[in-house]
Symmetry: C2
């Protein structure tokens, strides 16, 4: 971590009584910094605002935006960030410090944590030639009232990601109890069949990723037929013409292999990569 | 909070990079200190050890036990705890500090956090005369591979507990998507029908509470018939002869009211209260 702020000031620590630590009582965003700007910032901030509303976490968007700009400016001033840099920003929002017990504290100060990390530096070939994926045994946690949120309760993703330790495989898919595909451990999944872009509905589980939203927005703009499917089975994935995973940091990675099944890097996948590259040329 | 240790030393903070904060990547225990001792300590430590194994979190039980004794001794020496005191101990275990990303860090130091809190000081009448409960709208998160664990992903409990703010109601029940009762926001639930002690199975969701385990152990010892039910419906609760909730700090509270339905303080409920009082006279 290059730098961190808590509520607008340099800090490396949180209170042991922070409800983010005690209960995962909060939200986060992971943002790509590239070409001197934060990518898809409006979408990230909108999701954070909507999430805070759903969790009844008080949040002044003006304050957060000011802090984010101040943080970036200070990081640049300290030589920790340059316009030529690729980096990752993380915003964590917690309900704040409280006593013991699930009940909201009577008075609570939302904690706004901003962190600056190195970019993971994924190989270009993941984007160009595609990746191999696997199916995880760890099921996704199902809760329709929390689904879609990028909240801090991510133990299912953590355990799913740690089922493999082989560098040939870049992502694992998480299924619900019924065996429907919901998402990747750190990404959302799209499949293409007969020129229709299909992605699992996240009404019961999963994180509604910002890159997923952006890809869907762009598909609509480019008149590509989309389907938010209530249930995408593993068989549907096997039968797909193409598949890709996406998130804010990695962009779009074609899926070219799952066990013995292979796919080409598909036409719609490449289109999606073009759509999101548009951001870079803003 | 009266006092806290992190890895055997006084501390009030955790790293912003602690995976407990980032992902809820850890476990906790809430223990009752009473009559100069920690109640049901062996059961709590066994659950923690089993949970750490399931989550692949490294844990030296010897170190933790030594720290717990050292912590209590120091708290007594500092006048923060006396044998006559009732207090609450909390142990949080996290996978430790890591970078960004769900993957386990290559090298990681498990964080052992011990905290000492005031006892909540529940009114005696909750135990004697019983409590009123409600049904929560927030469903319990379902994940068979994480069910039973007292992990740090507790946002469902948090949101359920905050659906009401009226002091007449002491607990809320959390249901799964199918409407089966799983647990209370901070307790486990038992119902009695025809002298059989029934409690929901926690194979798909919920926390396997230490007091629940203890009540079940004592019921077996006292030859009371028990049933771990795959599905306890709200109708079954309405039709029950008696009901109670339990956890390590509150013990056993009779349930005497849910909406318009009323129950007496039942015979098996009172028996359960006697069973667990035995602990106090050790």
């Amino acid at each position: 971590m290059r730098k961190a702020w808590v509520n607008g000031e340099d800090s490396q620590t949180a209170s042991l009584l922070d409800r983010g630590l005690a209960y995962g009582d909060g939200l986060f965003e992971t943002l790509l910094y590239e070409c001197g700007q934060v990518r898809l910032l409006d979408l990230h901030l909108s999701r954070l605002q909507a999430g805070a509303k759903r969790l009844q976490i008080q949040l002044s968007m003006g304050t957060l935006q000011d802090e984010l700009q101040g943080f970036l400016q200070q990081a640049r001033g300290e030589g920790l960030l340059s316009d030529a840099d690729k980096a990752v920003l993380k915003i964590i929002l917690t309900r704040g410090v409280g006593g013991r017990g699930y009940r909201f504290p009577e008075k609570t100060v939302t904690q706004r944590i901003i962190q600056l990390f190195d970019h993971p530096g994924y190989p270009l070939q993941h984007r160009k030639e595609g990746i191999q994926i696997r199916l995880c045994k760890m099921p996704v946690s199902v809760n329709p009232a929390l689904a879609g949120l990028k909240h801090l309760n991510r133990l299912d993703n953590v355990m799913a990601r740690n089922e493999w330790n082989c560098s040939d495989i870049q992502e694992g898919l998480m299924l619900d109890e019924q065996g429907a595909i919901i998402e990747g451990t750190m990404s959302n999944i799209f499949i293409v069949r007969d020129n229709i872009l299909i992605t699992p509905s996240l009404k019961r589980a999963g994180v509604a990723g910002i890159m997923r939203t952006h890809v869907l927005d762009m598909a609509r703009k480019h008149k590509v037929e989309i389907c938010i499917s209530e249930s995408v089975s593993v068989q549907q994935l096997y039968d797909a013409d193409e598949a890709f995973v996406c998130n804010s940091v990695l962009g779009v990675w074609p899926v070219v292999r799952l066990e013995s099944k292979q796919w080409p890097v598909g036409r719609l996948t490449q289109l999606a990569q073009l759509w999101i590259q548009d951001i870079c040329s803003d």
